[in-house]
């Protein structure tokens, strides 16, 4: 199968400091990839290069079979059009939910489909309401974000991205600023997305997510991919000494391994797995 995303020898420098030293990876459609690694290892920078929030210093990106000409950093109408095309197909969710405080929940969700894809308002609203029902927040439709809990805000941020019908979703530590009891609801939503076949790249500190939802785990260390492979292998039997060191310093991985199929069929819930692991 043709990869959805191909990354070849991606490098990123800030001034004279190179923080990504040539990353290469293929992501197949439907893959759920967890990215783990120490603080400062370049995980966020890598994600941000994929939707070009950061302009790579060099390297090749190919999305959905088309090479991405990201060009030089700077302005230009044609460059912006190309980047908008890419970003409208790659959703990104941040650690700090970044909902727009001056817009209601529904306005947050319909903004991008209406403005970027020219979806008529009634259609965008109908789709947004469907998404809200799905996450059980239909009654928050006209609330402002400040009235929502952190977990609710982050779930709205996720469906705000989904409203663009992206082919790839990027998550950057989306549960890190949540109270522990709110982490489960966000991870559950991500697990159900994974079960539906969404292609996902998630930087995470939640080992239970990496273990039970992701199909592949990538370990970043010092701006390179130090180890990668099927999640159960990387997390349970890491080959590299530095992966072992990193994993032994993070929370022990407890709880049964749960497959996506089990989550889908309702046999297992990530939240329970989490509460067992917490």
């Amino acid at each position: 199968m043709q990869p959805l995303l191909q990354v070849r020898n991606l490098r990123k420098s800030y001034g004279s400091l190179e923080v990504l030293h040539g990353i290469s990876i293929d992501i197949a459609p439907g893959e759920v990839v967890a990215i783990i690694g120490a603080s400062g290892s370049g995980k966020s920078t890598f994600l941000r290069c994929l939707n070009l929030l950061e302009t790579p210093t060099s390297g090749e990106l190919c999305f959905d079979g088309k090479p991405v000409e990201y060009g030089e950093e700077g302005w230009g109408w044609r460059r912006e059009k190309q980047l908008q095309w890419l970003r409208s197909q790659i959703g990104m969710v941040f650690q700090s939910f970044n909902l727009w405080p001056h817009k209601t929940v529904i306005e947050n969700i319909i903004e991008a489909p209406m403005i970027v894809k020219n979806v008529p308002r009634y259609e965008a609203v109908a789709e947004a309401e469907d998404l809200l029902r799905r996450i059980g927040l239909a009654e928050k439709r006209d609330a402002f974000p400040s009235r929502l809990s952190g977990g609710q805000q982050q779930r709205v941020a996720i469906i705000r991205s989904l409203a663009m019908k992206p082919k790839l979703m990027l998550f950057d530590e989306v549960t890190s600023s949540l109270d522990p009891q709110l982490v489960g609801e966000v991870l559950n939503l991500m697990a159900s997305l994974a079960a539906e076949g969404m292609t996902m790249l998630a930087v995470t500190h939640e080992m239970s997510f990496a273990r039970s939802v992701s199909t592949r785990t990538i370990f970043f260390d010092g701006g390179v991919i130090a180890e990668e492979g099927p999640s159960h292998v990387v997390l349970n039997h890491p080959r590299q000494a530095r992966t072992q060191r990193f994993l032994s310093r993070t929370l022990p991985v407890i709880g049964p391994a749960v497959t996506v199929a089990e989550i889908q069929s309702g046999q297992a819930r990530v939240a329970q797995d989490l509460s067992a692991g917490a």
Binding site: N51, L53, E80, Q84, W85, R87, S88, I90, G91, M92, F94, S96, N98, L99, W100, P101, H102, E111, A112, I115, V116, K117, F144, S146, A157, R160, S161, M164
Partner: protein, 214 residues
């Protein structure tokens, strides 16, 4: 008292001119201020340096000198304007420099994530700025921008020195005829007070409405 009542229609007309000038100047100052604020944030030196100089010069010199320089000074180079036009332009440029600093502060108060999330969803930079950033900046700066508008309204009285017959100059004309400076300066002051009070009340209402909608 008789003469005060008799003079009211004239004062009404002068008040209207003051309002006209103030509204024009306030709107223009927002335009100048926005451009200068964005220019000052630019990474490109040919945009940033002129904006920097403009803000620095205007805030560091008296408004009165600026008005004299434009109205009396520019005709030396063949640029003459009516008192009204010269006054409106000078006051707008003057207030614009203060507005620029207010807007710059507002832009800095917006978290980085608010700039990134619309871009990540595919909005253009212009769309993100206009639809996501600017409305938030407007709310943050409302109190400061209201103060500046009040100052501007009062500063329109400076235009009396270049013969714009706004409220202050009109009062002086009437006083020259009636020799009743106390009554007419108080009348002018009360009219300014009414106008500035309306302005601050409107701003407070807007602020209350924003507080509900967030």
């Amino acid at each position: 008292m008789q003469s005060v009542f008799a003079s009211l229609p004239g004062f009404l007309y002068a008040t209207w001119l003051t309002i006209e000038i103030a509204v024009l100047v306030i709107l223009l100052s927002w335009g100048f201020g926005l451009v200068a604020a964005l220019g000052k944030r630019s990474r490109i030196a040919i945009l940033r340096v002129p904006c920097d100089l403009y803000i620095w010069f205007v805030r560091g010199t008296p408004a009165m000198i600026q008005i004299f320089a434009v109205y009396f000074g520019l005709p030396q180079f063949g640029i003459s304007m009516s008192p009204f036009v010269a006054g409106v332009i000078t006051l707008s440029l003057n207030s614009g420099a203060y507005v620029a600093e207010i807007i710059r502060g507002g832009l800095m108060a917006i978290p980085k994530g608010q700039y990134e999330s619309p871009i990540a969803l595919g909005l253009s930079h212009a769309q993100s700025f206009r639809r996501i950033i600017l409305p938030q900046v407007a709310r943050i700066i409302l109190p400061a921008i209201t103060n500046e508008a009040v100052a501007t309204l009062k500063n329109t009285s400076l235009l009396s020195v270049i013969t714009v017959v706004e409220l202050t100059f009109h009062a002086q004309i009437v006083i020259a005829k009636t020799f009743q400076p106390f009554q007419f300066y108080i009348l002018a002051a009360l009219i300014y007070l009414l106008l500035t009070t309306l302005l601050t009340r409107a701003s407070a209402l807007l602020e209350a409405r924003n507080a509900v909608r967030s």
